[in-house]
Protein backbone atom coordinates (compact mmCIF):
# COMPACT_ATOMS: atom_id res chain seq x y z
CA UNK A 1 0.00 0.00 0.00
CA UNK A 2 1.19 3.49 -0.72
CA UNK A 3 2.34 5.16 2.50
CA UNK A 4 0.23 8.20 1.68
CA UNK A 5 -2.92 6.08 1.90
CA UNK A 6 -1.93 4.72 5.30
CA UNK A 7 -1.35 8.25 6.56
CA UNK A 8 -4.73 9.21 5.15
CA UNK A 9 -6.36 6.34 7.01
CA UNK A 10 -4.66 7.46 10.21
CA UNK A 11 -6.12 10.95 9.84
CA UNK A 12 -9.52 9.57 8.93
CA UNK A 13 -9.35 7.21 11.87
CA UNK A 14 -8.54 10.09 14.23
CA UNK A 15 -11.54 12.06 13.05
CA UNK A 16 -13.85 9.08 13.26
CA UNK A 17 -12.53 8.20 16.68
CA UNK A 18 -13.30 11.70 17.84
CA UNK A 19 -16.84 11.56 16.48
CA UNK A 20 -17.77 8.13 17.72
CA UNK A 21 -15.73 7.92 20.89
CA UNK A 22 -17.59 6.56 23.91
CA UNK A 23 -14.94 8.17 26.09
CA UNK A 24 -15.68 11.79 26.54
CA UNK A 25 -16.52 14.36 29.15
CA UNK A 26 -18.49 13.42 32.17
CA UNK A 27 -21.66 15.50 32.27
CA UNK A 28 -20.86 18.93 33.56
CA UNK A 29 -22.28 19.78 36.97
CA UNK A 30 -21.08 23.32 37.53
CA UNK A 31 -21.16 26.77 36.01
CA UNK A 32 -17.95 26.23 34.04
CA UNK A 33 -19.71 25.39 30.80
CA UNK A 34 -17.58 28.17 29.32
CA UNK A 35 -14.52 25.96 29.70
CA UNK A 36 -16.23 23.21 27.76
CA UNK A 37 -17.21 25.71 25.08
CA UNK A 38 -13.63 26.95 24.80
CA UNK A 39 -12.44 23.38 24.48
CA UNK A 40 -14.99 22.77 21.75
CA UNK A 41 -13.88 25.94 19.98
CA UNK A 42 -10.25 24.85 20.27
CA UNK A 43 -11.27 21.48 18.88
CA UNK A 44 -12.86 23.06 15.85
CA UNK A 45 -10.01 25.43 15.08
CA UNK A 46 -7.16 23.17 16.16
CA UNK A 47 -8.71 20.04 14.77
CA UNK A 48 -9.36 21.83 11.51
CA UNK A 49 -5.72 22.85 11.27
CA UNK A 50 -4.61 19.32 12.11
CA UNK A 51 -6.79 17.77 9.43
CA UNK A 52 -5.93 20.42 6.84
CA UNK A 53 -2.17 20.19 7.42
CA UNK A 54 -2.14 16.40 7.43
CA UNK A 55 -4.36 16.08 4.38
CA UNK A 56 -2.17 18.52 2.52
CA UNK A 57 0.80 16.42 3.49
CA UNK A 58 -0.93 13.26 2.25
CA UNK A 59 -1.77 15.04 -1.01
CA UNK A 60 1.87 16.04 -1.50
CA UNK A 61 3.07 12.54 -0.75
CA UNK A 62 0.65 11.00 -3.24
CA UNK A 63 1.14 13.59 -5.95
CA UNK A 64 4.85 14.26 -5.78
CA UNK A 65 6.42 10.93 -4.93
CA UNK A 66 9.70 10.24 -6.65
CA UNK A 67 9.87 10.03 -10.42
CA UNK A 68 13.19 9.90 -12.12
CA UNK A 69 12.50 12.42 -14.84
CA UNK A 70 10.70 14.97 -12.72
CA UNK A 71 12.48 17.92 -11.25
CA UNK A 72 11.27 19.56 -8.07
CA UNK A 73 10.28 23.19 -8.10
CA UNK A 74 12.99 25.65 -7.10
CA UNK A 75 11.51 28.43 -5.02
CA UNK A 76 13.40 29.39 -1.88
CA UNK A 77 10.91 31.88 -0.54
CA UNK A 78 7.41 33.11 -1.08
CA UNK A 79 7.04 36.24 1.03
CA UNK A 80 3.39 36.74 0.23
CA UNK A 81 2.32 33.23 1.13
CA UNK A 82 4.33 33.34 4.34
CA UNK A 83 2.73 36.63 5.29
CA UNK A 84 -0.78 35.32 4.69
CA UNK A 85 -0.09 32.20 6.73
CA UNK A 86 1.42 34.19 9.60
CA UNK A 87 -1.55 36.50 9.84
CA UNK A 88 -4.07 33.70 9.51
CA UNK A 89 -2.37 31.82 12.32
CA UNK A 90 -2.21 34.91 14.47
CA UNK A 91 -5.90 35.45 13.94
CA UNK A 92 -6.68 31.87 14.92
CA UNK A 93 -4.54 32.17 18.03
CA UNK A 94 -6.27 35.38 19.08
CA UNK A 95 -9.64 33.74 18.54
CA UNK A 96 -8.61 30.98 20.94
CA UNK A 97 -6.86 33.16 23.47
CA UNK A 98 -9.56 35.79 23.92
CA UNK A 99 -12.32 33.52 25.28
CA UNK A 100 -9.73 31.70 27.35
CA UNK A 101 -8.68 34.90 29.09
CA UNK A 102 -12.28 36.02 29.64
CA UNK A 103 -13.08 32.76 31.40
CA UNK A 104 -9.90 32.87 33.42
CA UNK A 105 -10.93 36.32 34.58
CA UNK A 106 -14.19 34.82 35.85
CA UNK A 107 -12.26 31.95 37.40
CA UNK A 108 -10.05 34.15 39.56
CA UNK A 109 -12.77 36.67 40.50
CA UNK A 110 -14.97 35.06 43.10
CA UNK A 111 -18.57 36.30 43.38
CA UNK A 112 -19.38 38.13 46.60
CA UNK A 113 -22.07 35.72 47.71
CA UNK A 114 -19.88 32.63 47.50
CA UNK A 115 -19.85 30.26 50.47
CA UNK A 116 -16.33 29.71 51.72
CA UNK A 117 -15.29 26.13 52.26
CA UNK A 118 -11.98 25.45 53.92
CA UNK A 119 -10.58 22.24 52.47
CA UNK A 120 -7.76 20.82 54.53
CA UNK A 121 -5.60 18.18 52.92
CA UNK A 122 -2.99 15.87 54.36
CA UNK A 123 -1.32 12.63 53.41
CA UNK A 124 -3.79 11.13 52.56
CA UNK A 125 -7.18 12.54 53.28
CA UNK A 126 -9.49 15.51 53.35
CA UNK A 127 -11.62 17.34 55.83
CA UNK A 128 -13.73 20.44 55.55
CA UNK A 129 -14.70 23.50 57.52
CA UNK A 130 -17.54 25.93 56.91
CA UNK A 131 -18.10 29.34 58.39
CA UNK A 132 -20.63 29.49 61.21
CA UNK A 133 -23.33 32.05 61.77
CA UNK A 134 -20.92 34.98 61.49
CA UNK A 135 -20.24 33.94 57.93
CA UNK A 136 -16.49 34.09 58.41
CA UNK A 137 -13.86 31.42 58.76
CA UNK A 138 -11.41 31.68 61.61
CA UNK A 139 -7.68 31.87 60.92
CA UNK A 140 -5.61 28.75 61.25
CA UNK A 141 -2.07 27.61 61.92
CA UNK A 142 -0.56 24.26 61.14
CA UNK A 143 1.20 24.27 64.51
CA UNK A 144 -2.15 24.45 66.32
CA UNK A 145 -3.32 21.16 64.95
CA UNK A 146 -3.81 18.47 67.53
CA UNK A 147 -6.51 16.05 68.60
CA UNK A 148 -8.49 18.79 70.30
CA UNK A 149 -8.15 21.20 67.43
CA UNK A 150 -8.15 19.13 64.26
CA UNK A 151 -8.24 22.16 61.99
CA UNK A 152 -5.60 24.19 63.79
CA UNK A 153 -7.92 27.13 64.38
CA UNK A 154 -6.35 30.04 66.22
CA UNK A 155 -8.03 29.96 69.63
CA UNK A 156 -7.99 33.73 70.02
CA UNK A 157 -9.76 34.33 66.73
CA UNK A 158 -13.41 35.12 67.49
CA UNK A 159 -14.48 34.11 63.99
CA UNK A 160 -13.17 30.63 64.53
CA UNK A 161 -15.38 29.64 67.43
CA UNK A 162 -18.54 28.98 65.49
CA UNK A 163 -16.86 27.35 62.48
CA UNK A 164 -18.61 24.19 61.39
CA UNK A 165 -16.25 21.26 61.30
CA UNK A 166 -16.79 18.31 59.05
CA UNK A 167 -14.31 15.62 59.93
CA UNK A 168 -15.16 13.46 57.00
CA UNK A 169 -13.92 13.26 53.46
CA UNK A 170 -17.39 13.95 52.11
CA UNK A 171 -18.83 17.45 52.01
CA UNK A 172 -22.31 18.57 51.15
CA UNK A 173 -22.87 21.61 48.98
CA UNK A 174 -25.96 23.58 48.20
CA UNK A 175 -27.18 23.46 44.63
CA UNK A 176 -26.95 26.68 42.60
CA UNK A 177 -24.95 28.48 45.24
CA UNK A 178 -21.40 29.60 44.40
CA UNK A 179 -18.70 28.00 46.50
CA UNK A 180 -15.25 29.38 47.15
CA UNK A 181 -12.91 26.52 47.87
CA UNK A 182 -10.07 27.59 50.13
CA UNK A 183 -7.35 24.99 49.96
CA UNK A 184 -4.66 24.39 52.46
CA UNK A 185 -2.38 21.51 53.12
CA UNK A 186 -0.52 20.53 56.24
CA UNK A 187 2.21 18.53 54.55
CA UNK A 188 2.68 18.26 50.79
CA UNK A 189 0.96 19.41 47.61
CA UNK A 190 -2.54 18.12 46.94
CA UNK A 191 -5.31 19.08 44.56
CA UNK A 192 -9.02 18.93 45.22
CA UNK A 193 -10.52 17.94 41.91
CA UNK A 194 -14.01 16.92 40.90
CA UNK A 195 -14.05 16.16 37.16
CA UNK A 196 -17.71 17.10 36.84
CA UNK A 197 -17.02 20.59 38.19
CA UNK A 198 -14.16 21.05 35.67
CA UNK A 199 -12.20 23.18 38.11
CA UNK A 200 -9.17 22.42 40.22
CA UNK A 201 -6.35 24.03 42.17
CA UNK A 202 -3.39 22.77 44.16
CA UNK A 203 -3.39 22.83 47.92
CA UNK A 204 0.02 24.16 48.86
CA UNK A 205 1.42 23.92 52.35
CA UNK A 206 2.35 27.31 53.75
CA UNK A 207 -0.21 29.30 51.80
CA UNK A 208 -3.93 29.19 51.08
CA UNK A 209 -5.11 28.86 47.51
CA UNK A 210 -8.60 29.23 46.16
CA UNK A 211 -10.97 28.69 43.31
CA UNK A 212 -14.69 28.79 42.91
CA UNK A 213 -17.56 27.14 41.14
CA UNK A 214 -21.31 26.89 41.35
CA UNK A 215 -22.65 23.33 41.45
CA UNK A 216 -25.82 23.11 39.41
CA UNK A 217 -26.73 19.47 39.43
CA UNK A 218 -27.91 17.52 42.43
CA UNK A 219 -25.97 14.32 42.97
CA UNK A 220 -22.95 12.63 44.46
CA UNK A 221 -19.48 13.12 43.01
CA UNK A 222 -16.11 11.65 43.67
CA UNK A 223 -13.24 13.89 44.68
CA UNK A 224 -9.82 12.95 43.32
CA UNK A 225 -6.44 14.20 44.37
CA UNK A 226 -4.92 15.57 41.19
CA UNK A 227 -1.45 16.54 42.36
CA UNK A 228 1.01 13.80 43.12
CA UNK A 229 1.39 13.66 46.89
CA UNK A 230 3.31 10.53 47.70
CA UNK A 231 2.65 6.86 47.69
CA UNK A 232 -1.00 7.10 48.72
CA UNK A 233 -1.87 9.60 46.01
CA UNK A 234 -4.06 7.23 44.04
CA UNK A 235 -6.10 6.31 47.09
CA UNK A 236 -6.72 9.87 48.23
CA UNK A 237 -10.37 10.23 47.43
CA UNK A 238 -13.22 12.23 48.87
CA UNK A 239 -16.77 12.99 48.02
CA UNK A 240 -19.16 15.82 47.32
CA UNK A 241 -22.88 15.69 47.68
CA UNK A 242 -24.76 18.47 45.99
CA UNK A 243 -28.14 18.93 47.61
CA UNK A 244 -31.18 21.10 47.36
CA UNK A 245 -31.44 24.00 49.81
CA UNK A 246 -33.76 22.16 52.20
CA UNK A 247 -31.60 19.06 52.42
CA UNK A 248 -28.49 21.16 52.78
CA UNK A 249 -29.92 23.27 55.59
CA UNK A 250 -30.99 20.15 57.39
CA UNK A 251 -27.54 18.62 56.97
CA UNK A 252 -25.69 21.68 58.13
CA UNK A 253 -27.75 22.06 61.25
CA UNK A 254 -26.62 18.62 62.33
CA UNK A 255 -22.92 19.47 62.14
CA UNK A 256 -20.68 20.24 65.04
CA UNK A 257 -19.09 23.65 65.55
CA UNK A 258 -15.66 24.36 66.98
CA UNK A 259 -17.10 25.67 70.24
CA UNK A 260 -19.18 22.51 70.54
CA UNK A 261 -16.01 20.54 70.20
CA UNK A 262 -14.17 22.65 72.76
CA UNK A 263 -17.05 22.33 75.19
CA UNK A 264 -17.06 18.62 74.68
CA UNK A 265 -13.33 18.48 75.21
CA UNK A 266 -13.49 20.62 78.34
CA UNK A 267 -16.12 18.38 79.77
CA UNK A 268 -13.92 15.45 79.06
CA UNK A 269 -10.94 17.20 80.55
CA UNK A 270 -12.78 18.15 83.67
CA UNK A 271 -13.62 14.57 84.07
CA UNK A 272 -10.06 13.55 83.56
CA UNK A 273 -8.69 16.56 85.45
CA UNK A 274 -6.16 17.24 82.82
CA UNK A 275 -5.05 20.56 81.48
CA UNK A 276 -4.42 20.81 77.85
CA UNK A 277 -2.08 23.51 76.88
CA UNK A 278 -0.39 24.01 73.63
CA UNK A 279 2.93 25.61 74.28
CA UNK A 280 3.82 25.51 70.69
CA UNK A 281 0.88 27.61 69.78
CA UNK A 282 1.54 30.30 72.39
CA UNK A 283 5.12 30.57 71.39
CA UNK A 284 4.32 31.04 67.78
CA UNK A 285 1.59 33.53 68.40
CA UNK A 286 4.15 35.91 69.90
CA UNK A 287 6.31 35.71 66.84
CA UNK A 288 3.48 36.62 64.55
CA UNK A 289 2.43 39.50 66.82
CA UNK A 290 5.76 41.13 66.07
CA UNK A 291 5.03 41.12 62.37
Amino acid sequence: MHPGIIFFLVILGSVLFHIFTPWYWTDIASNWGGMDDTITLTFWIGGGVFVAVCLFMVYCVLKFSYKKDRKAEYKPEDKKLEKILTWATTLGVVALLAPGLVIWNQYVSVPKNAVEVDVMAWQWGWQYRLAGEDGKLGTTQVVNINDDNPFGINLDDPFGQDDIMIQSDVINLENNKPVKILLRSVDVLHNWYVPQFRSKMDAVPGIVTYYWFEPNKIGEYEVLCAEYCGVGHYAMRGGVEVQSKEDYDKWISEQETFSDLIAKQEKLELENKKIVKNNNFLLNKDIYKEE
Binding site: L137, G138, T139, Q141, N154, L182, G206, I207, V208
Partner: protein, 112 residues
Protein backbone atom coordinates in the same frame (compact mmCIF):
# COMPACT_ATOMS: atom_id res chain seq x y z
CA UNK B 1 35.34 53.27 18.70
CA UNK B 2 37.28 55.39 21.08
CA UNK B 3 39.97 57.83 20.17
CA UNK B 4 42.82 56.51 22.25
CA UNK B 5 42.38 53.27 20.53
CA UNK B 6 42.60 54.38 16.99
CA UNK B 7 45.87 56.07 17.68
CA UNK B 8 47.41 53.01 19.24
CA UNK B 9 46.52 50.81 16.27
CA UNK B 10 48.64 47.70 16.76
CA UNK B 11 48.68 47.59 20.52
CA UNK B 12 45.59 46.19 22.18
CA UNK B 13 46.16 47.84 25.52
CA UNK B 14 44.83 51.02 26.97
CA UNK B 15 46.50 53.81 28.91
CA UNK B 16 47.05 52.95 32.53
CA UNK B 17 45.23 56.13 33.55
CA UNK B 18 41.82 54.79 32.64
CA UNK B 19 42.26 51.74 34.86
CA UNK B 20 43.43 53.84 37.78
CA UNK B 21 40.46 56.16 37.31
CA UNK B 22 37.96 53.35 37.32
CA UNK B 23 39.70 51.75 40.25
CA UNK B 24 39.42 54.95 42.23
CA UNK B 25 35.80 55.42 41.23
CA UNK B 26 34.95 51.92 42.42
CA UNK B 27 36.42 52.66 45.82
CA UNK B 28 34.48 55.90 46.06
CA UNK B 29 31.22 54.24 44.99
CA UNK B 30 31.73 51.37 47.42
CA UNK B 31 32.31 53.93 50.12
CA UNK B 32 29.07 55.67 49.17
CA UNK B 33 27.05 52.51 49.21
CA UNK B 34 28.53 51.73 52.61
CA UNK B 35 27.44 55.19 53.73
CA UNK B 36 23.88 54.28 52.76
CA UNK B 37 23.95 51.81 55.60
CA UNK B 38 25.98 54.02 57.91
CA UNK B 39 23.40 56.78 57.84
CA UNK B 40 20.58 54.25 57.92
CA UNK B 41 18.56 55.73 55.08
CA UNK B 42 15.25 53.91 54.82
CA UNK B 43 12.49 53.25 52.36
CA UNK B 44 12.59 54.22 48.74
CA UNK B 45 15.62 56.46 49.22
CA UNK B 46 17.65 53.54 50.53
CA UNK B 47 16.53 51.27 47.73
CA UNK B 48 17.18 53.71 44.95
CA UNK B 49 20.62 54.56 46.34
CA UNK B 50 21.55 50.91 46.77
CA UNK B 51 20.45 50.04 43.26
CA UNK B 52 22.02 53.15 41.77
CA UNK B 53 25.44 52.49 43.25
CA UNK B 54 25.16 48.79 42.52
CA UNK B 55 24.42 49.24 38.85
CA UNK B 56 27.04 51.95 38.51
CA UNK B 57 29.70 49.75 40.04
CA UNK B 58 28.64 46.72 38.03
CA UNK B 59 28.60 48.81 34.89
CA UNK B 60 32.08 50.19 35.48
CA UNK B 61 33.55 46.78 36.17
CA UNK B 62 31.95 45.30 33.09
CA UNK B 63 32.66 48.20 30.78
CA UNK B 64 36.29 48.83 31.64
CA UNK B 65 37.79 46.04 33.71
CA UNK B 66 36.10 43.41 31.55
CA UNK B 67 36.65 45.56 28.45
CA UNK B 68 33.06 45.41 27.28
CA UNK B 69 33.23 49.10 26.39
CA UNK B 70 35.85 48.29 23.80
CA UNK B 71 34.32 45.06 22.57
CA UNK B 72 32.34 44.89 19.38
CA UNK B 73 28.57 45.22 19.59
CA UNK B 74 28.03 41.62 18.51
CA UNK B 75 29.54 40.35 21.75
CA UNK B 76 28.00 43.04 23.93
CA UNK B 77 24.51 42.37 22.65
CA UNK B 78 24.83 38.63 22.95
CA UNK B 79 25.76 39.10 26.58
CA UNK B 80 23.19 41.68 27.57
CA UNK B 81 19.96 40.54 25.90
CA UNK B 82 19.54 37.36 27.95
CA UNK B 83 19.25 39.61 30.99
CA UNK B 84 15.69 40.37 29.93
CA UNK B 85 14.77 36.83 30.95
CA UNK B 86 16.29 37.49 34.37
CA UNK B 87 14.46 40.80 34.60
CA UNK B 88 11.18 39.07 33.79
CA UNK B 89 11.90 36.38 36.39
CA UNK B 90 12.67 39.02 39.04
CA UNK B 91 9.60 41.06 38.20
CA UNK B 92 7.28 38.06 38.43
CA UNK B 93 8.86 36.75 41.60
CA UNK B 94 8.34 40.09 43.29
CA UNK B 95 4.60 39.88 42.69
CA UNK B 96 4.70 36.21 43.64
CA UNK B 97 6.23 36.81 47.05
CA UNK B 98 3.84 39.65 47.68
CA UNK B 99 0.97 37.30 46.92
CA UNK B 100 2.44 34.56 49.12
CA UNK B 101 2.93 36.82 52.08
CA UNK B 102 -0.55 38.25 51.56
CA UNK B 103 -2.25 34.86 51.74
CA UNK B 104 -0.15 33.88 54.72
CA UNK B 105 -0.97 37.05 56.56
CA UNK B 106 -4.63 36.99 55.61
CA UNK B 107 -5.45 33.38 56.34
CA UNK B 108 -3.06 32.60 59.17
CA UNK B 109 -3.03 35.84 61.15
CA UNK B 110 -5.59 38.49 60.34
CA UNK B 111 -8.58 36.67 58.92
CA UNK B 112 -12.03 38.03 58.34
Amino acid sequence: MNNNNEKEQQSTTHKIGIYLWIWGLLFVLSFFSYMVDWYQFQGMLRWSLILFFMFLKAGLIMAFFMHLFWERYALVNVLLWPMTAIACFIFLMVSEFKYTVFTRFFYFVVGG
